[in-house]
């Protein structure tokens, strides 16, 4: 029986608060307290990669062991090109992994998780990484935009774990209240809430919950459901004290594919052994998926302290969500090299593959034929440690990009990995999500997946440093 073996969630730091939104749109009320939005160098895939890396680390599962990477999103940067494969690069999945994309609707995350939990033969080959991620926007002048959000959740499914799948249920309805046409970046909806009230989210969730409950021997202890900010438990027919995640959704907004799974993560964190959790996700125009998750034993994900929220003005929010055009982000690869060089180096540059010298232990990144420190020629392929500390830095005021593209000054740090060789064990990267005035020699930092520039519509994914919250320098 497949089980959930680890999980992690990721919520980007930038947020638009109800107050900031009101300054731009006095007549529109934000349903929650805030909505999140990716940083300028983030997207659905970098958020998923971050959650995935954290989940694998929490479960102490090397990416090289994965049998599959399932990714669900309705907001991939690509119409045609696998987002799952990009995240698979980040987590170093092996080349024979089943790398599959789910999505097209916001219940895609749970559908992907169910697919993993129900595929015994696949999990026998190795753990499955399930990712659910979205960054959703509506038309700027429509109140719906203020209720959406951005987040990602990751679950590792393996033959051994702590929470197993019980009953499950699927429901289908093409009835649609909201949709996003091809080529459009905003979710449209009928400007008539009767569509939702009479036959959409509430009624469908309620109907499928009832159908699902009929399969269950006893009432679940917790409910992790697709929620929109402000949803009341009684409208879904669920006891208020058993509903989890409402607080999170009110701060994050409706994060699409990640929505119900963020709540599942909250429920898993709170639940004791023996408890059951009903998780249900809804997608307008697609239907529902439901599952009962039974906690067989407790498993506490190592929770890093939450990163400080960055409250945006509406003008900043407009830049973050692309209402004001920005030009390119800094490149992660030499532009002269264009695509061949980028593709050749991706294994090391996105997968963070390093070579640890078998003779002297020095970490060579990117890998080299001769060890930088001792000229050894035998290496063990290892992922570069993601945590390090600043060796030196500078604050860059003149760069080949316009100031709006990345807030200046840009801070570039060199860090030493563990264990540092004399030459090896160091990486250079931009710093992101930081108050640059807090960067000093010795500041603890971690590598985080981020976007670089875009060439021919292809995003160059790579890594930046972010100060480690709670770490002591």
């Amino acid at each position: 029986v497949n089980r959930i073996a680890a999980y992690a969630t990721y919520v980007p730091r930038p947020a638009l608060t109800r107050e900031a939104a009101r300054e731009a749109w006095p007549q529109m009320a934000m349903p929650g307290s805030s909505r999140t939005v990716p940083s300028l160098d983030e997207d659905s895939l970098t958020m998923a990669a971050q959650a995935g890396l954290d989940a694998l680390e929490a479960g102490e599962i090397p990416g090289e062991r994965l049998s599959a990477v399932f990714l669900a999103t309705s907001t991939s940067p690509y119409m045609v090109k696998s987002g799952a494969a990009i995240v698979a690069d980040y987590v170093n999945a092996p080349s024979h992994a089943n790398v599959t994309d789910f999505g097209a609707g916001s219940h895609g995350g749970l559908v992907a998780l169910l697919s993993a939990l129900r595929d015994g033969p696949l999990a026998e080959r190795g753990p499955i990484l399930v990712l659910a991620t979205d960054a959703i926007f509506g038309p700027a002048n429509d109140p719906s935009d203020l209720g959406f959000g951005a987040a990602a959740a990751a679950f590792v499914v393996a033959a051994d774990g702590f929470a197993a799948l019980g009953a499950f249920d699927y429901g289908y309805s093409s009835y649609s209240y909201s949709w996003r046409p091809s080529g459009d970046s905003e979710l449209h909806r009928y400007d008539d809430e009767r569509f939702e009230r009479t036959a959409g989210y509430g009624p469908q969730m309620k109907a499928s919950l009832k159908r699902f409950a009929d399969q269950l021997a006893r009432e679940p202890d917790r409910y992790a459901l697709s929620l929109v900010p402000g949803t009341r438990a009684d409208t879904l027919g669920v006891p208020a004290e058993k509903l989890v995640g409402a607080e999170l959704v009110a701060a994050v907004g409706d994060s699409g594919c990640a929505n119900a799974l963020l709540s599942l993560a909250v429920a898993l964190r709170e639940a004791s052994a023996g408890e059951t959790i009903a998780v249900q996700a809804y997608s307008s125009g697609a239907g529902t998926a439901s599952a009962l998750i039974a906690m067989e034993r407790e498993w506490r994900a190592p929770q890093p302290p939450p990163h400080e929220r960055v409250e945006l003005s509406y003008l900043q929010y407009a830049k973050h969500r692309g209402l004001l055009p920005l030009t390119k982000l800094p490149s992660f690869g030499a532009p002269y090299g264009a695509s061949p060089g980028w593709e050749r180096s991706k294994h090391a540059s996105v997968g963070l593959h390093a070579g640890r010298c078998r003779a002297c232990g020095s970490l060579n990144f990117p890998p080299r034929a001769y060890c930088l420190d001792c000229r050894g020629q035998e290496f063990e392929a290892v992922p570069l440690p993601r945590r390090a500390s600043v060796l030196t830095f500078n604050l860059q005021y003149v760069v080949g990009i316009a100031p709006e593209e990345a807030p200046l000054p840009i801070c570039t740090a060199l860090v030493d990995g563990e264990p540092p060789g004399r030459y090896g064990g160091k990486v250079a990267a931009l710093v992101t999500d930081a108050n640059v005035n807090e960067i000093e020699i010795g500041t603890p930092v971690e590598l985080v997946p981020r976007r670089g520039d875009v060439e021919e519509g292809l995003v160059k994914y790579g890594w930046k440093f972010r100060p480690r919250v709670g770490a002591v320098g």
């Binding site: 992660f332 030499a334 500078n394 080949g400 570039t412 060199l414 250079a428 670089g452 790579g462």
Partner: protein
């Protein structure tokens, strides 16, 4: 110098700077003629058997492959051999080194070296900023790297390790601008004060605008020959005594340290050994002050002072005109300018004037031994050439 002794019998350059008025070919011709004019007894141009052309950025900005023909054609040198040299900011110095080696090896008797660079045919913002995208190596360039970025990180580390302050770097800019104001070949012939340097806009903290050398047009040329032929051309030749070239990792995050450039120490050791001298024997030096911090660290790496003591040596006036060992009497890259391929050759022009006692207000008293120092990349490749006024035994 290993092999046959080598002399410099002529050296000349055009005024460095914003030379919108001159094409690349115009600059090559200008430097060549200035060099010919400097040969006191004159020289039959047919005596020049071969030439080396140092040009680096040219191929990037001109978007063409630069060959030796870029020198052979404008001065009607063909069909004689011209080797084009490119080695980042060591380009000019390496052209000098290789020309000298050809003489030392006994292959040629009299040769020409020209360094030339046309950097300002694009807007200045492009020429600085584009370096983000064209710096050599897919693992070097990424992540927002520019030259001021990487040297700025050395400045931060040096400040952290030794208590060096931005004020010390500003003193170097002030000194080099003062020297440049005395040099008719200099791009910037005006003084700047430490206060102005510190108040200038920040480019890459801790480096401000006046800590950075300018992108520059320019060309310089020298004529070298077998030492035993030198007196045919001039009563006062100078001699190349030694040369050292050293390398360090290309990827800047692979440096073994961030407060020193090991390649400078290695290149200097090799050059001193070949010349049979020590750092104490050097009377003056033209060093690579692409950024003020580079010059400060170079004092330490060349052995002019102890590691970490660059700031104290500055406070004591060591590198100033009239100081213990004047550095960058020409104004250096900072004030004279840095047309990459021409820079190393123009440093020989300064030593030519200094070691012959012809440097006017910039003259270092009793200058007998001088060195040139160039650094490519971020201490990735360093070249030190040593020259003296007396023919080696």
């Amino acid at each position: 110098m290993a092999g046959l002794p080598v002399a410099v019998v002529g050296a000349g350059m055009i005024r460095f700077g914003e030379r919108f008025d001159l094409s690349y070919e115009d600059m090559v011709v200008g430097a060549y003629r200035a060099c010919l004019d400097s040969v006191e007894h004159g020289i039959d141009e047919d005596r020049l058997e071969a030439a080396w052309l140092g040009t680096c950025i040219g191929s990037m900005i001109r978007q063409e492959t630069v060959t030796g023909a870029a020198l052979a054609e404008p001065i009607r040198f063909f069909p004689r051999p011209v080797t084009r040299v490119e080695n980042a900011c060591c380009t000019g110095s390496d052209a000098v080194r290789n020309a000298a080696f050809a003489i030392a090896a006994g292959v040629y008797d009299v040769v020409l070296v020209v360094g030339a660079e046309k950097m300002r045919d694009i807007p200045s913002r492009d020429s600085l900023v584009r370096q983000t995208s064209v710096m050599f190596h897919e693992w070097w360039a990424p992540r927002g790297a520019t030259a001021p970025n990487r040297f700025g990180q050395f400045a931060t580390a040096h400040m952290g390790a030794y208590g060096t302050e931005r004020r010390h770097m500003a003193m170097i800019a002030e000194k080099n601008h003062h020297n440049g104001s005395l040099n008719p070949h200099s791009y910037f012939r005006r003084e700047v004060s430490c206060e102005q340097v510190l108040a200038a806009p920040i480019v890459s903290w801790p480096l401000g605008l006046l800590d950075c050398c300018p992108t520059t047009d320019g060309a310089a040329a020298v004529i070298m020959c077998r030492a035993d032929l030198a007196k045919e051309f001039t009563a006062n030749p100078i001699y190349m005594l030694g040369s050292g070239l050293a390398t360090d990792p290309l990827i800047s995050s692979w440096k073994s340290e961030f407060t020193s450039f090991p390649a400078t120490r290695a290149a200097a050791a090799a050059a001193y050994k070949m010349a049979g001298i020590g750092a104490a024997d050097v009377d003056l030096a033209e060093v690579h002050d692409c950024f003020t911090i580079t010059e400060l660290i170079t004092y330490e790496d060349l052995g002019f002072c102890d590691p970490g003591a660059g700031k104290d040596w500055l406070d004591a006036g060591g590198p100033m005109l009239g100081g213990e060992r004047p550095v960058n009497t020409s104004g250096g890259l900072k004030a004279k300018g840095h047309p990459v391929g021409a820079t190393g050759v123009s440093q020989v022009v300064e030593l030519w004037e200094q070691l012959r006692g012809e440097a006017g207000e910039r003259q270092v008293q009793d200058a007998r031994i001088g060195l040139t120092h160039n650094m490519g990349g971020i201490g990735t490749i360093v070249l030190v050439n040593v020259f003296g006024s007396e023919r080696p035994a």
